[in-house]
Amino acid sequence: MRKLFDHFASRLPLELRVLYGQFLLRVIDLEALSIEADVTGFLGQFAGVLIMISFVFVGRLIYPTLFMDQAHTALFLREMTLQTEQSLITMTFLVTGLITVLSWDATFPDRRDVMVISPLPVRPYIILVAKVSASAAVLSLAVLSLNLPASLVFSSLLGSLNGSVWGVVRFFCAYWFVIAAGSGFLYGSVLTIQAITTLLFPRRISLRISALLQLAAFALFISVYFLEPSTPAFAALTLPQNQGFVLWSPPYWFLALMNQLTGTLPPWLNWLAMRAWIGIGISTTGAALSLLLCYLQTMKRTVEEPDLVPGAGGSHWTPRIGNLLQTALVLFSLRSLTRSRQHRVAFAFFASIVFAIALSMLHAELPPRKTIPVSMDYLIPTFVMMGFATYGLRSIFSLPISLTANWVLRTTQLRAPEKYFAATRITMFLFAVAPVWLVSAALAIPFTPFNAVAGHLVVLALFGSVLVELCLIGLYKVPFTCSFLPGKLNIQIVFWGILVVYLTVVVSFAEFENRALRNPNQLAILVCALVAAIATLWAFNHSRAKSAELYFEELPEELITTLRLISAPPPRTD
């Protein structure tokens, strides 16, 4: 297999192979990773998380059948088929969407590519093919990791329901066709929109629009995933309340397509599968054409773009937040979060989850009742939002903005580490706790009684403070100056560990709080306990920070800077 692959690869043009290798590494933004990062290990761990998700799907289907007889198992599998297919397609769309957003600009040549590659004798189409191949390789890895275990198990279980091997093969082929086509459709659609934006607008404006589109796409993919109604049977697709989603949400089209290919789609839903076919056609043609046109034009426009663009006009007033050091670090963090592409995307990832949870709460609250008693349905999501926001911001602090510029902060470090620590704490309050608290307060409007809502908002603020103090443990760094070590940190374990532990704690905490909100004494105890926890954690962090040294990650010293021309071989005399 390896020999066959090597043989095939060696027949490709050398410049394509070289550029593909370079671009493949840059689909993951290397500047966002640690200098000690193991990129291959990081990709492997990312694939590990997806494979684990696939096994969760498998487990969800297989586990109940362990306690059933054959007849009940068959019945159960038939009932679960549509729901399982929908879950997998929706999850594949989410993963594809997230990868498309995370590698947003990776398919288009940036200024560095143009300036470095243009002077070389490389034809533009080679750059295009290398870029598309690199993006497709990362996307394929993710889709394969997510679906391989599930496809094998589901094909053998669900495909064999009609009792033939042909059914298994047909299900397996249909499954992979739909997954590949669905991913391609989404990737192609995003590329088409990006390419059209690039073609229609001047490069600088198109870059700004592209950044907004990227955030919008993020919010859209996550919202669709959270809000999409489940379909236990085909009849659910015709329910009036589901019509909006069924008509405009592509996962439903591909669900219909899958059932059309396996021969289980009712004829009255053929129009839905037709939407999938039309979508594939449009996105493939659109992406190919617009990408080609874009490549032919973009390279030239990128070279001609002026280096220096005047800054935005208007007021450049900057607010004062605490002392001068706190103002400097809060503004530095705000500007890093809003102006750096990778930070904006990472922040949007967590913000989108918060947004989606808030949206799904609104969705649940909107029905006829005007006032709703405070319940777990309100309490749990607010704690989940707070958790995502604080942990998310803490993670984003570990994406360095520019390691080479860290010398600025080091040579101007004129105050004790605990002062920097306090500035980081304010940053976390401003950009994580305060927004979630405000969103939660806004979402609380329909809930009653007022004192329970007010009590919860106090508890939520204190809970957020506890999370901030927990996130600050050991953080003796200025935000955005150091990185975590992808490849060295076992994200596949940390991800699941944090998720499971946090959700367990939150559910128990919300249950206790729900009771306490109806009992002033219990509420007072809860508030006192939280205040005590904050005070303890604050004192612990403060005393550790006093004796800590601020850590700044640096690029390693270059030992060899001379060209050593003296060691050049003497000219040949023969």
């Binding site: 220096l308 050049a568 000219p571």
Partner: protein
């Protein structure tokens, strides 16, 4: 006065700077010279406190700098060899951040930043992103950031890099003016002609070791050579430049 006493720096047992001692006095510009890889920038980083020395001691006004690094940093201004800045900030935002980190009064530093941006011809581009700045513009931002707190010790590592002729002439005079006002100026450059005009005293490094530490005048008379370039070639350049050029041309032709 800035003093380096038997300072060494080893990277994984490879000596980058080896037993270097010299001093830079207030009121004079000390030139710090050496070919690529000789250890100039490593020395500069040790003097700024960015990297720790393996051996030796650095003193400023008689006190080891490590005794109170924060107090020392307050009095130091540094222009690094490469103009690495936070590219997502504008020129004004960057300088304001540095002034805040240095705890300078807001009103006073805003006026000073504005005045220096005007004098360095950057005022029109002060709100543009640094990512679009040319190398010379970045260099000017670095100079403003290094000087705006009125430091007593000024460390300039290749400060003329990327500057246009007019700005370079201004900087040359500025360095002399600052020294005349009693500052300690340590200035590293490859432009020997400029060094010869600006510096009263030079330190030459070769392969991490000190090979000369004296006034230019005295070096000229001691070595019986007419220019700093000739002195430098004698002390720190190993190869015959004409022969090297021929070999490179031959290699390209082969």
């Amino acid at each position: 006065m800035l003093e380096l006493r038997r300072v060494s720096k080893h990277f994984s047992s490879i000596p980058a700077v080896d037993d270097v001692s010299f001093s830079a006095r207030p009121g004079e510009v000390t030139g710090y010279l050496g070919p690529n890889g000789s250890g100039k920038s490593t020395t500069m980083k040790m003097i700024t406190g960015l990297i720790e020395m393996t051996l030796g001691e650095i003193r400023f006004e008689g006190k080891p700098i490590q005794d109170d690094l924060i107090a020392y940093k307050r009095r130091m201004g540094y222009v690094p060899e490469e103009p690495y800045l936070y590219n997502h900030l504008s020129g004004t935002e960057y300088l304001t951040m540095v002034s805040q980190l240095r705890n300078l009064p807001a009103r006073e530093s805003a006026d000073r930043i504005d005045g220096m941006l005007r004098l360095f011809s950057l005022r029109d581009d002060r709100h543009a992103s640094i990512s679009g700045y040319s190398k010379g513009m970045r260099q000017k931002i670095l100079l403003i950031a290094a000087l705006m707190h009125n430091p007593d010790l000024i460390l300039l590592d290749e400060p003329f890099s990327g500057l246009d002729v007019g700005s370079a002439l201004v900087l040359r005079s500025l360095i002399q003016e600052l020294a005349a006002r009693g500052k300690v100026v340590l200035f590293s450059s490859h432009e020997l002609d400029t060094v010869e005009r600006v510096c009263s005293h030079v330190v030459i490094l070769h392969r991490g070791k000190l090979v000369a530490d004296d006034s230019i005048e005295r070096l000229r008379s001691l070595m019986e050579l007419p220019t700093l370039e000739a002195i430098f070639s004698q002390l720190a350049v190993e190869q015959d430049s004409n022969s090297m050029a021929r070999q490179i041309a031959d290699l390209i032709h082969a």
